[in-house]
């Protein structure tokens, strides 16, 4: 059933509509929410919403509970290829839990929280931005790791990144919901403005697996590929590799690569002069879970994130 969660009048003959598809079956009381589209340039979650909605509608007999699908928390942003809410300065994922007395965006954030809180699980699906390509991964604030890592493992993604807490992240949707005792997992995968079907299929399988674990799905669950393993970041360290030169980055690997010490992962070149400005190599072996997707870089632009298990 399609429900309108938020309807806000726009100046000329239109409403801003945030909608969800609420699919229920059986007698189970559990509610799982799949949300995406907070950032208007992140589209990977659209495929997930479509696939999960389609599977549940094809096999309602296997569902015991409620799954609610929110494809677009920021519909105006998605429609205008704008990362944030058009005409609003702040990142939508930095204004939660919102404010019923605040501006339109803050009021929207508040009502989104009101609608999601109390769910048995929320999956908040992101796809980095247009600049970076990410392996399918779950990001978990270390403050909630004990509770969320066991759940995240059922998603069968490639990487679980338990990151440090930061004050500025306290205004995210996930932080706000977890603070309200609504377990919320943040998935990052792929790249902005694109859909990577293989990653999408991997996550759809993981969501069904997690639903089965929670007792709301009794249907088939695709098995992860033979030899697949999920790397948990707490056994090692994450290194950020940033550009030392401004130019054009040419990647020499794809993401999800195991790299050797000294291996070149890309180079920054100067198209005007036809020279290499920086050879980008890793000094120790590791797992590249983020790689630059947008070629133009400035000094400091993030080129890669590498996970190492050696606790350097």
């Amino acid at each position: 059933m399609i429900k309108t969660v938020i309807s806000t009048e726009l100046p000329v003959d239109e409403h801003l509509l945030i909608r969800k598809n609420s699919i229920s079956s059986g007698s189970g009381k559990k509610r799982i929410c799949i949300v995406t589209g907070t950032h208007g340039d992140e589209l990977e979650g659209q495929y997930i919403c479509y696939r999960i909605g389609s599977i549940l509608q094809e096999h309602p007999e296997c569902l015991d509970g409620t799954v609610e699908i929110y494809p677009a928390l920021n519909p105006l942003g998605i429609d205008s290829i704008t990362r944030g809410i058009p005409s609003f300065d702040l990142d939508m994922n930095r204004i939660f839990p919102g404010d019923p007395m605040g501006s339109m965006a803050e009021n929207t954030a508040y009502n989104i929280i009101e609608d999601l809180k109390g769910a048995d699980l929320v999956l908040d699906i992101h796809s980095s931005n247009i600049f970076l390509y990410e392996v399918p991964q779950v990001r978990i604030n270390q403050l909630t790791a004990d509770r969320l890592v066991p759940l995240a493992r059922y998603l069968n993604l490639d990487f679980l990144w338990v990151h440090e807490a930061a004050t500025v992240l306290e205004a995210t949707l996930a932080y706000s919901l977890n603070a309200l005792n609504t377990p919320t997992l943040v998935v990052e995968m792929g790249v902005g403005m694109r859909i990577t079907m293989s990653y999408g299929d991997q996550l759809v399988g993981g969501i069904l697996n997690l639903m089965r674990h929670l007792g709301v799905w009794t249907g088939d669950v695709p098995e992860p590929p033979a030899g697949h393993r999920t790397i948990l970041s707490t056994k090692g360290t994450v290194e950020f590799i940033n550009a030392s030169a401004s130019g054009v980055f040419i990647p020499l690997i794809r993401q999800s690569n195991e790299v050797e010490a000294g291996q070149s992962i890309g180079r920054i070149v100067d198209p005007l002069r036809g020279v290499v400005l920086q050879e980008v190599a890793v000094d120790r072996p590791g797992f590249v879970f983020t790689i630059r997707a947008y070629p133009v870089v400035y000094e400091g632009s993030l080129l890669a994130r590498v996970y190492r298990e050696d606790k350097a």
Partner: protein
């Protein structure tokens, strides 16, 4: 005055990115002033450029008091201003959400780190700031409540109001917040407008900074004593929101004194011009903030009032 290049970064396709500072006097690091950190902070840059001009003049007249060093950075983001963008042109990140910065981090983190290195250690810090909602303010000084702030000092600007804000998580990465944490008394001066230059309110902001400098013995300058600044806690402001969307036909302006139930604006149907909603003051007060976009969305903030 010394004009210094504080930060230089090559660009793949544009001229070098440069941040310039203007240093006056020597001795105790008394005051640092930052102008436009965003590309649409035209009023802020204008005030800063006038400040540099005035300080040059005072220096030539020997009215810059010895023993004080003053640093003025009119623009930290000329790349955005030159192409009409608000944030960092490449990735739309906000330099004023990157403090204290990280010299080995992403581009705008590096710019923030370089700026902060130059801005640390001053007794007073002034940022000419803009608000995240488009609109006009009564010129005022804003401080964050961090436990380090001294509200009485802010009243030395002689602007009509001093606003104290409890920081939200997103505020912890601004220059103002980090200045205070690093023991600089930090003030944000809101020069009324963003995206336009209004000479009258720019003059008020310039006078406020000069008044503050004179009060603390940094310059010799005779000016109007200014206002006895009223301290307002941000949570005390009365928000007036749009119950309907449409064309906003405004009937008041910042600094107007309004009465309860007084009509502040009408929201008109954009097709037939009929009145969709009369926006009325919920209490007696003074218009502190007014949004300036002609089209308004439902639930958008239209006015913020200081209760009488």
């Amino acid at each position: 005055m010394k004009r210094e290049r504080l930060f230089v970064m090559p660009s793949p396709f544009r001229d070098e990115f440069r941040i310039h500072g203007f240093r006056f006097g020597s001795g105790k690091k008394s005051l640092a002033v930052v102008g436009a950190m965003r590309g649409d902070e035209l009023q802020q840059q204008f005030v800063c450029s006038r400040l540099v001009h005035t300080l040059q003049d005072l220096e030539e007249r020997g009215e810059l008091m010895p023993g004080h060093e003053v640093l003025v950075i009119p623009s930290a983001n000329p790349f955005a201003m030159n192409i009409g963008k608000r944030f960092w042109a490449m990735d739309n990140t906000d330099i004023n959400r990157m403090f204290p910065g990280y010299a080995l981090g992403e581009t705008t983190q590096r710019i923030a780190a370089a700026l902060f290195e130059h801005l640390q250690g001053y007794e007073f810090g002034v940022q000419l700031a803009s608000y995240y909602l488009a609109g006009d303010f009564i010129p005022h000084v804003r401080m964050m409540h961090t436990g380090y702030e001294d509200v009485e000092l802010a009243q030395g600007f002689g602007l009509p109001y001093t606003l104290v804000r409890n920081p939200l998580p997103i505020d912890t990465t601004t220059l103002n917040y980090n200045w205070q944490i690093w023991e600089t008394q930090a003030f944000s001066v809101y020069a009324g407008h963003t995206g336009v230059i209004d000479v009258a309110t720019a003059d008020d902001s310039l006078s406020a900074i000069l008044r503050f400098m004179a009060l603390h013995g940094i310059i010799r300058y005779r000016s109007h004593p200014g206002y006895y600044s009223q301290v307002v806690q941000e949570e005390e402001l009365i928000n007036v929101k749009a119950c309907r969307a449409g064309i906003m036909y405004c009937l008041c302006k910042p600094d107007d004194i309004v009465r309860r139930h007084q009509r502040l604006a009408s929201i008109l149907d954009p097709y037939d011009g009929s009145v969709r909603w009369e926006v009325r003051a919920p209490a007696d007060g003074t218009v502190f903030f007014m949004q300036t976009r002609p089209l308004v969305l439902e639930n958008s903030m239209l006015f913020r009032l200081i209760a009488s």
